[in-house]
C-alpha cells in the first residue's frame, strides 16, 4: 500500500521504511523555530533541563516578530532575552529588527525551509511551509526546547484528508477565499489532528503566495498540517532561494486517506468569516450592510507581495471612506522594498492608507491597529476570536486582500465588484 506525501516525509525523517497513521515516531527536525513570544519560555526550559548548546546552530531559527520592534518594556525584555540567547549560541538564523519580518513569510523567502523538510515551530501558523511540500506543524515552547536540545521530536503520524478543488476561480477569488470556504464547510475542528492535502488544477495558475495562505490556515480547521504536492511552481520559487538541498515528495496513487472532500471552485465567491470563528463564512453577496471602522492588510496569511498588488489594483485612483482606517503591513523587509519599488506605497498613501513596518502587530491584538470597544475591522489575518485584535467587544471579519481593500473604500463590507 502506498503512502501520502506526509507519511513519506515523516518516515524518511524517522529512519523508517514506512509509517502509518496513528504510529508514534521520533523524527529528525530540519528546522526548529521560535519567536519573541514563545522562544523565551523555550529558552527557560532549555536551561532548566541543563541545555548547554543547541543541536545545530543553523537549524534553530529565532525571529522577533510578534511584539517587535519592542512594543513596550515587557516586550523589550522578551526580545532581549531571545537576542542574548541567539548571540550566546551563535544562532545563524537570528534576525534583528531591520532584517526581521513575519517568520512564516521570512523563512520561505530566505530559503531556510525547503521542500521535503520536517519543520516544527513554536507558533501555530508554522503549518504555512506545507505550501512548499514540507511537513510543518506548530508546537509549544516545551516541544521547541526539546527539539533545540535533541534535534528531534515525537509525532503521531496523522491521517490525511484530501481536498480536491475542481474548476477555475471567479474574478477576485484567491487562496484565502478557497481556504475560508473550506473551513466554513468542515468547521474549526473538521480536520482535528489530521493533515490537509490540497490538490487541484487551479493550483497550476495560482501563485505560491496563495498556497502559503491556504497551508497557513490549516490550523484554523484544527489541522496538524496543510500540504501541497511540489511542482514546477514550487521549483521556480525554491530554486533561487534554497540554502540546502531539497527533495520533492509526492503521494502515491494508492495512498490511503481518511477521507476526500471535493470542492467546486466555480461556485466560490470572495468570502468573509464573521465573528467569532473562521468557519463562520459567507459569500460577499450575502454579507448585508456591515459598517467597518478599519481594514488591515498584512500578516503571515496575507502579507505577501501578491496580496499587496491585489489591494493596490483596487485602491488605485480611489480613496478610503471618510473616517475609515486602512493599515497595510508588508510581511518582510524584501516585500516592503518590492512594494515600494513597484509604486504600491504611493497608491496606498494616496488612498489614505498607512504603511507599517513588518510585524505580526495587530493580528493578535499586539499593537499597530488595536480595536476599541464596539469597533469592527476587516482583516486579511487568520483568526477572528473574541478580543483577537483588541477589546473583547470588538469584532474581526476575515477576508482576502481584495475584499479588505474594497471594504476600505466602501466603509462597509464590500467586494471589488460592489464598488
Amino acid at each position: 500500500m502506498g503512502m501520502t506525501i506526509t507519511e513519506k516525509i515523516l518516515s524518511r525523517h524517522a529512519g523508517l521504511e514506512e509509517v502509518r497513521p496513528g504510529m508514534l515516531i521520533n523524527a529528525r527536525v530540519d528546522i526548529a523555530l521560535g519567536n519573541d513570544i514563545t522562544a523565551p519560555i523555550a529558552i527557560d526550559a532549555f536551561r532548566k533541563a541543563g541545555g548547554k548548546e543547541v543541536f545545530d546552530t543553523k537549524k534553530v531559527v529565532l525571529v522577533p516578530d510578534h511584539f517587535a520592534p519592542n512594543k513596550d518594556i515587557d516586550s523589550a525584555e522578551q526580545c532581549k532575552l531571545m537576542r542574548d540567547f541567539a548571540h550566546e549560541q551563535a544562532i545563524t538564523h537570528y534576525f534583528e529588527v531591520g532584517e526581521a519580518g513575519i517568520e512564516h513569510a521570512l523563512l520561505p523567502e530566505k530559503g531556510i525551509v525547503v521542500p521535503g523538510d520536517v519543520v516544527i515551530g513554536a507558533d501555530s501558523h508554522t503549518c504555512t511551509y506545507g505550501a512548499l511540500g514540507a511537513f510543518a506543524t506548530g508546537v509549544g515552547s516545551t516541544d521547541l526546547a526539546a527539539a533545540m536540545i535533541t534535534g528531534e521530536l515525537w509525532f503521531k503520524v496523522p491521517e490525511t484528508i484530501k481536498f480536491i478543488y475542481h474548476g477555475n476561480a471567479r474574478p477576485w477569488v484567491s487562496g484565502k477565499d478557497l481556504i475560508l470556504y473550506t473551513i466554513g464547510r468542515i468547521g474549526v475542528h473538521g480536520a482535528l489532528y489530521r493533515a490537509m492535502e490540497f490538490v487541484g488544477e487551479i493550483f497550476r495558475v495560482l501563485p505560491m503566495a496563495d498556497r502559503m495562505t491556504m497551508a497557513n490556515m490549516a490550523v484554523e480547521a484544527g489541522g496538524k498540517s496543510g500540504i501541497f504536492i511540489p511542482d514546477e511552481i514550487t521549483e521556480v520559487y525554491v530554486r533561487k532561494r534554497a540554502e540546502r538541498p531539497y527533495e520533492f515528495y509526492t503521494s502515491d496513487p494508492d495512498a490511503l486517506y481518511h477521507s476526500t472532500i471535493d470542492i467546486d471552485v466555480t461556485k466560490i465567491e470572495p468570502q468573509v468569516a464573521f465573528p467569532h470563528l473562521p468557519s463562520n463564512t459567507k459569500g460577499i453577496s450575502e454579507v448585508g450592510n456591515v459598517p467597518i471602522d478599519q481594514s488591515f492588510i498584512g500578516s503571515c496569511t496575507n502579507g505577501w507581495i501578491e496580496d499587496l498588488r491585489v489591494a493596490a489594483e483596487i485602491l488605485k485612483g480611489r480613496h478610503i471612506a471618510y473616517g475609515h482606517r486602512l493599515i497595510i503591513i508588508p510581511a518582510t523587509p524584501a516585500i516592503y522594498r518590492q512594494a515600494m519599488k513597484e509604486g504600491l506605497f504611493d497608491i496606498f498613501l494616496d488612498a489614505g492608507g498607512v504603511i507599517s513596518l513588518p510585524t505580526c502587530g495587530p493580528c493578535l491584538g499586539g499593537y499597530m491597529g488595536i480595536l476599541a470597544k464596539g469597533e469592527r475591522s476587516v482583516s486579511t489575518t487568520n483568526r477572528n476570536f473574541v478580543g483577537r485584535m483588541g477589546h473583547p467587544e470588538s469584532e474581526v471579519y476575515l477576508a482576502g486582500p481584495a475584499v479588505a481593500a474594497a471594504t476600505a473604500v466602501a466603509g462597509r463590507l464590500a467586494g471589488p465588484e460592489q464598488l
Partner: protein
C-alpha cells in the same frame, strides 16, 4: 491521580485568546499569566474560582495559537484539571509536556452544569458526579506514551531520562 472539585463549564472552541489574551503575552511569569486566566471568556473567572476547581470544556478546547502560556495560566491559577469533549492538538501536546492534567470525555459535558462537583479518577478512568448520576462517566484512555510523559514529569524530564540511559 484523583481530583475532586467544583466545575466551571465552558462551551465549544474555547480558544487560547480567550484562555490568555495576547495582550498579556509580554508576561511569562506563571502567576502573572494566571491573573488573566480565561479573562475573555469570563472576565470574573479569577475572582470566582478557587484552587482545586475543574474546567469542563466542549469540543476543540484550546484551539488557536500554540502559546504554552494558556496551559501555564490554567495550571498556575490552581485549576486541578481540564476535562473536555475534545482538545485542539497543540494545546493537548502542551498540557502533557508541561504537566497540566487533561482528560477527554465525550459525555461529561452533557451531564453536568456549572457549579457541579465531580470526582475525576485518572487511575480507573472514571468520573463520578455525586448527587446527579449513579453511573460514572468514562474518560477516553490516555495513550501509553502520554502516560509515560506524565509519569516522567513532563517532556523535558522524559528526555533527560532518555539521554541518561
Amino acid at each position: 491521580m484523583k481530583f475532586t472539585g467544583k466545575i466551571w463549564k465552558f462551551g465549544d472552541n474555547i480558544d487560547t485568546d480567550a484562555i490568555i489574551p495576547a495582550r498579556y503575552l509580554n508576561i511569562r511569569d506563571p502567576q502573572g499569566l494566571a491573573a488573566h486566566c480565561m479573562e475573555d471568556a469570563d472576565p470574573d473567572f479569577m475572582k470566582k474560582m478557587k484552587k482545586g476547581d475543574i474546567i469542563v470544556g466542549g469540543e476543540n478546547f484550546g484551539c488557536g495559537s500554540s502559546r504554552e502560556h494558556a496551559p501555564i495560566a490554567i495550571k498556575a491559577a490552581g485549576i486541578a484539571c481540564v476535562v473536555a469533549r475534545s482538545f485542539a492538538r497543540i494545546f493537548y501536546r502542551n498540557s502533557f509536556n508541561m504537566g497540566l492534567p487533561i482528560f477527554e470525555s465525550r459525555t461529561l459535558w452533557g451531564e453536568v452544569t456549572d457549579g457541579s462537583e465531580i470526582e475525576v479518577d485518572a487511575d480507573t478512568g472514571l468520573i463520578r458526579i455525586p448527587g446527579v448520576s449513579a453511573d460514572p462517566v468514562r474518560i477516553q484512555p490516555v495513550p501509553p506514551f502520554m502516560q509515560e510523559l506524565i509519569a516522567d514529569g513532563g517532556l523535558m524530564n522524559h528526555i533527560a531520562k532518555g539521554r541518561a540511559k
